[in-house]
Symmetry: C2
Subunit: 251 residues, 2 copies
Amino acid sequence: MSGSLSIIGLGPGDIEMRTPQASATLAMATDLIGYGPYLDRVETGPEVIRHASDNREELDRARHALALAQSGRHVAVVSSGDAGVFAMAGAVFEAIEHGDPIWRELDVQVVPGISAVFAVAARIGAPLGHDFCVMSLSDNLKPWPVITTRLAAAASAGFVIALYNPQSKARPWQLGAAFALLRNILPPSTPVVFATAATRPEERIDITTIESADPARADMRTLVLIGSPDTRVITRPDAPPYIYAPRRSAA
Amino acid sequence: MSGSLSIIGLGPGDIEMRTPQASATLAMATDLIGYGPYLDRVETGPEVIRHASDNREELDRARHALALAQSGRHVAVVSSGDAGVFAMAGAVFEAIEHGDPIWRELDVQVVPGISAVFAVAARIGAPLGHDFCVMSLSDNLKPWPVITTRLAAAASAGFVIALYNPQSKARPWQLGAAFALLRNILPPSTPVVFATAATRPEERIDITTIESADPARADMRTLVLIGSPDTRVITRPDAPPYIYAPRRSAA
């Protein structure tokens, strides 16, 4: 059993944000596994086998990767951003826990990447300069009341909130409900940032307030960042404002 | 005014985790500013001026960097990990907000890095696979009751919690108080991870439970990760366990 499995975060899109560790690990792979559009971001020689799949069935994909590694292949499972944040690393370890005990002895490595939340933060200033939380708004894998409890707890306690998976065709009302809940907790002027395809050529970043935030602005590729009462906005002449969290919190 | 200011995250220590964007930006700097041990991690030609300082006086350092950029220099302010997470980016924007209005027109760029929390997560499995929060346990810049409110809110709502700045000589009791608070909320077997100097040669990672967590294990360089009731531990023969968050949350 001399195969291996690497779970690799490609970063947010701009290849200059992909770490040398990720690139070196990709270069040693015999097999690439992942969502098709992520695989398209990786250049390889023709001898590398690409196993593209759609963005569901993560657990099947994880089991496939483990079986290939068990058979002696050097497998790279790729995710956008960081592989550990609402991405493939969790699915792989879930498959290991419930799968063939021999999988616990495989050579498994997680290679971190720049997650979307840090790429977006860097584009607008320093909104994560004090305590923050990162949530998936998808209720595919957890009950909606768990999500509302977490949103209310985080906002009430003064965390900045980053929302992954804010909206999809199958989940059209959840972001609006989240904004409605947060309007009861946060000051109306609290900054809200919609960032789509951050660091890519088609990047679009819009800065608004919780009072004015329109859920229709978000899609599957959007990260939504919600400030805290401490969050500051610095206006600039002829340029978008900076958003940042002061280091000192008085709340 | 043709100077520039870049605020750069160097990543967690292993140079293979520093992004090409960070390396390219460092290569264009005429001046480096930062905490001495971080500057020591950057190789430059002899023509680059290094302004090392201790780890306090962040705001003075930020003003110095802005003044140099205003004078036409190409300044790189370096932080370990990600510059936006309890690091120099917040201080720079705070200085901009309260400083010379001309600073708002400077060419300022934030270059993200792999933050310690992602480096540690990758070393132990996928503990951030569902909702998590990131906090500084330092009460230098916020009142202690704000910290306890946030800890209780996050743990009660089921977030995994990553603690930066858990302990220092000047703050000897806070981590113990945090553990005591969390023991009233979390199951005794909830995993706790102490990770010191992750990805560096002197790396030390210890996995325990909230019931047994000893605050004396932490120092300034330690990241403390506290699981949620959903967090799973996968034991392995002759190897440390994996820690991960299942994608599905029933709580």
